[in-house]
Amino acid sequence: MSEAANLAYLGEQPYYLPLGDEVAVFQAAYEARLPVLLKGPTGCGKTRFVEHMAWRIFRGDDGGDASGAGIDIPLTTISCHEDLTATDMVGRFLLKGDETLWSDGPLTRAVRTGGLCYLDEIVEARKDTTVLIHSLTDHRRLLPVEKTGELVSAHPDFLLVISYNPGYQSVLKDLKPSTRQRFVSLTFDYPDPEREATIIAHESNVEPALAERLAVIGQKVRNLREHGFEEGVSTRLLIYTGQLVGKGIPARRAAEIAIVNAVSDDLTVQQAIADIVDAILP
């Protein structure tokens, strides 16, 4: 099975280190079929958490009343962007030979077949997409497909999960209260250095001492998040650094590639981050 297929079908349990009670809360929300909103900065583990929960619910022992029976694709992820329209999610007519055929979009497919549908960075998408999900997130659990006149009832094991990043203040206002208040909300942030070091060590297979140093770099660089990079450095980038070190790149060079150059284009900020890295790495 390819890596992509493995992700979609969740053959193996995705690693996730709980930082609080989020696993139990998500589990409860799923059992009550309450749509879930995840808030948190880029690269703090939201997507991994959803993958982990999809595995637990549909492949592990935590399925509860769903038990994952018959769910081929436990997780459908749609990465939202500013050109993403309702059509992209619901489906469109395609020209095939002499025919014009309707093709379901990823949201419609997930609604029909069940599983988690994860709209990543929902506020990046156009406004018509957020309105589209309203009827899916209340007691009706319906998806209107305007172009075919169909009203698709959600599969009993379907659950909508969305995420957005409150760091982008200008788009924060775009998630209207009428949308926001349809979801139970879980807030994520970067882990404390100790747990972040555990995550880095696990994901990149570096020595615990280096993982600890990388976690401290993450903590210190995040202190500069007001300077043109609202997010600070993500756990993901720290893991990339560890992975580069694992492939033989010296730690300072790996940090330069994965952290210093990645988080900002401002030369002074880059130099300052390089100085922080230089001070913290042995």
Partner: protein
């Protein structure tokens, strides 16, 4: 040789990353206060500033070493020192009589005063504490080790040998140990081994500031036999009626503890009051003599007295700290800018220091009247902006991906297939929003003269002796009360230039919100080249909220008008916005002027030339600039100051909001 100015902005970011809060970076030579002197060649820290030497005969990382050494004072517990805890932990200290100096001295000073020669103990403590901090720095920031070693090697090269038979010699010897020197002669001296042991006992990662105190006491005992009283070389700042920065930092940290105590007392008072309320009925039945207080009342009164005393003590302490270390600017960030010296035909590098801070909303501001201003001008402004309003969504045809099939494209594709030609796959249409890629910055002159009433002759802005005979502070005639002008109750009702400027900003904000353009609103003032003030009411990425309204409402006349650095700072912000069209509009009420804006005060050409240069720089960087002034004599200088005659003189100041809208339309349509 490296100069601080070259690395200042980078170093400020480094320090912010390490400490998790912003510190201004300033040369030690720039620092002055009534009770504190910092040696120009050394490093120090105040509550919001890292003071570093102007230049170092070393590589650039040496500044990072010095910055880390200062930040370590706060990070690794030096300021947590309390004399009570020191006496609890150090048996040798408990054996000494506790000095009675009250609460108006730092706990460090109380510690030093336990011995006969506090100045000596102070020196020894400072060296031992630096040793402890060095160990912590090297443990937590192992990468700095090689830079620190290199810098210390340079310092060692210039140091004279130590004579262990005098206090200065002992201090020098500790300095050698601190810098990592190998001292074979130390072992030969009878005191050497004991001195090294005392020093190293606290120079470890596990040591606390109290271990340092114990180590310094041990060092003191070793050199006590040869202490020479009034040794000139040991003259400490406090002996010159001056203090060390660390003392004041410790006193500031202690204020936080007092604040906690105050909260505790408040809590106790509240508990007693609630208990009293519950027992009202019982109190009525008490048989108290006339005027006699119940035990609960006595408790309450004692607690209230304690609270009042504590408050007074805290106010006095705050005042003393401010007096010693100067006015802190913890919420501001500082930047340095070049200035154009037209007389020398050259830039003065990093000449001006600009402080950027938010315009904090004031309590009790009348926001309703400001909202009414927006309503009053809405119709006129909307009409004005109709011409440049974007068209909203537009349907784009023949695209590869979209929400509708484009039937013309589909028919064309069918024809092509039938004709045996490869069809164009772009058979969809989609709706796309039409964006205006504009970012505008409004820079409002908040000089003292904007306090002038409308339609009255402009008074001489040069500060003069006050009517009550007091002599103004010539260094800064506006001193520490920038709002003093605004508190003139007699003038409270008159309409001033600042009022119209504020209203113009509100009207523009409302208009631009409708238009969807991103915009920032800033004010500027200041006094002198080392204190240009740049106030932020709204940044382009922030939404216009009630807080923005309140920030604009709090725009007040302040000090002088050094336009050059404010323009350069605003242009920097615009360039970082990344928008295609960048517009800077300056609202002013007169020519640029400041206390040292030119060789002589009152001479305007220098400021005018620097401002003209700053506007030309903006133009070269692709920023459209425009100056709007309410100074009717503005034509004389604005035509020389503004490129391509981009200025407007408002004859009737009440027309400012509409005039501004017209200008904006012309610039961005």
């Amino acid at each position: 040789m490296i100069e601080l100015a070259e690395v200042e902005s980078r170093l400020a970011l480094f320090a912010e990353g390490i400490a998790g809060r912003y510190y201004h970076i300033k040369p030690s030579s720039e620092y002055s206060s009534r009770r504190l002197i910092v040696d120009a060649a050394s490093a120090a820290m105040t509550s919001d500033t890292l003071l570093l030497p102007d230049a170092l005969d070393a590589e650039a990382p040496a500044y990072r070493v010095l910055a880390l050494e200062q930040l370590a004072v706060a990070q690794f517990g030096s300021l947590d020192f309390t004399i009570a805890e020191a006496r609890r932990r150090i048996p040798d200290l408990r054996r000494l009589a506790e000095p009675d100096l009250g609460v108006r001295v730092s706990d460090f000073e109380l510690f030093y005063q336990h011995v006969e020669h506090p100045a000596v103990l102070s020196r020894l403590f400072a060296m031992c504490e630096r040793g402890r901090l060095k160990a912590h720095i090297r443990h937590h920031y192992p990468g700095i080790k090689r830079h620190q070693d290199a810098y210390h090697e340079r310092l060692l090269a210039d140091m004279a040998a130590a004579d262990l038979n005098s206090v200065p010699g002992v201090v020098q010897c500790l300095n050698f140990l601190l810098l990592g020197a190998d001292l074979p002669e130390l072992e030969k001296h009878p005191l050497g081994g004991a001195l090294r042991d005392a020093f190293t006992s606290s120079a470890t990662v596990g040591a606390s500031v109290y271990d340092t105190a114990a180590a310094s006491l041990a060092c003191y005992a070793l050199c006590e036999p040869f202490i020479v009283v009034h040794d000139a070389e040991l003259a400490l700042p406090d002996e010159l009626e001056l203090d060390e920065p660390a003392h004041w930092l410790q006193r500031e940290a202690r204020l936080e503890d007092w604040q906690e105590d105050l909260k505790e007392i408040d809590g106790m008072i509240m508990s007693v009051e609630m208990l009293d309320a519950d027992n009202v009925a019982a109190a009525d039945t008490d048989n108290l003599a006339d005027g006699e207080l119940r035990p609960d009342d006595l408790d309450l009164r004692a607690l209230e007295n304690e609270r009042d005393t504590m408050k007074r003590r805290m106010d006095m302490e705050r005042s003393a700290i401010r007096d010693a270390t100067g006015k802190p600017r913890p919420e501001a960030r500082s930047y340095r800018y070049d200035e154009w010296d037209y007389l020398g035909h050259r830039y003065l590098a990093k000449w001006c220091r600009l402080f950027e801070e938010r315009l904090e909303p004031e309590d009790g501001a009348d926001l309703n009247s400001l909202k009414q201003v927006i309503i009053n001008h809405r119709a006129g402004v909307q009409q004005q902006l109709e011409n440049i309003k974007p068209l909203g969504f537009q349907r784009v045809f023949r695209v590869a991906d979209g929400d509708e099939l484009d039937f013309n494209a589909v028919i064309q594709a069918r024809q092509d297939i039938r004709a045996g030609i490869s069809p164009d796959e772009r058979v969809y249409s989609r709706r796309e929003r039409v964006h205006r890629d504009v970012c505008a910055s409004f820079l409002v002159d908040l000089s003292a003269s904007t306090d002038d009433p409308i339609d009255e002759p402009e008074p001489d802005p040069t500060p003069t002796a006050a009517d009550d005979g007091t002599v103004p502070n010539l260094r800064d005639p506006y001193d520490d009360d920038p709002y003093a002008i605004d508190h003139n109750l007699a003038d409270a009702k008159r309409r001033r230039i600042i009022d119209v400027q504020r209203e113009a900003m509100l009207v523009m904000s409302a208009a631009l919100e409708q238009l969807g353009d991103s915009y920032g609103i800033y004010g500027f003032s200041g006094y002198g080249r080392d204190c240009v003030e740049f106030f932020v009411a709204k940044e382009p990425e922030q939404a216009f909220t009630q807080a923005t309204l309140a920030s604009i409402a709090s725009m007040k006349p302040k000090r002088s008008t050094r336009m050059g650095p404010a323009i350069r700072h605003a242009v920097g912000k615009l360039l970082r916005s990344g928008n295609a069209l960048k517009v800077l509009m300056i609202l002013s009420d007169g020519f640029p002027q400041d206390s040292d804006y030119g060789p002589e005060r009152g001479e305007h050409e220098y400021g005018l030339q620097d401002t003209a240069k700053a506007l030309a720089e903006a133009h070269d960087k692709g920023v459209e600039t425009f100056c709007v002034t309410v100074d009717r004599s503005g034509h004389d200088y604005l035509k020389r100051m503004c490129p391509d005659a981009r200025y407007m003189v408002i004859e009737e100041i009440e027309d400012l909001p509409e005039a501004l809208t017209k200008v904006y339309e012309a610039l961005t349509a």
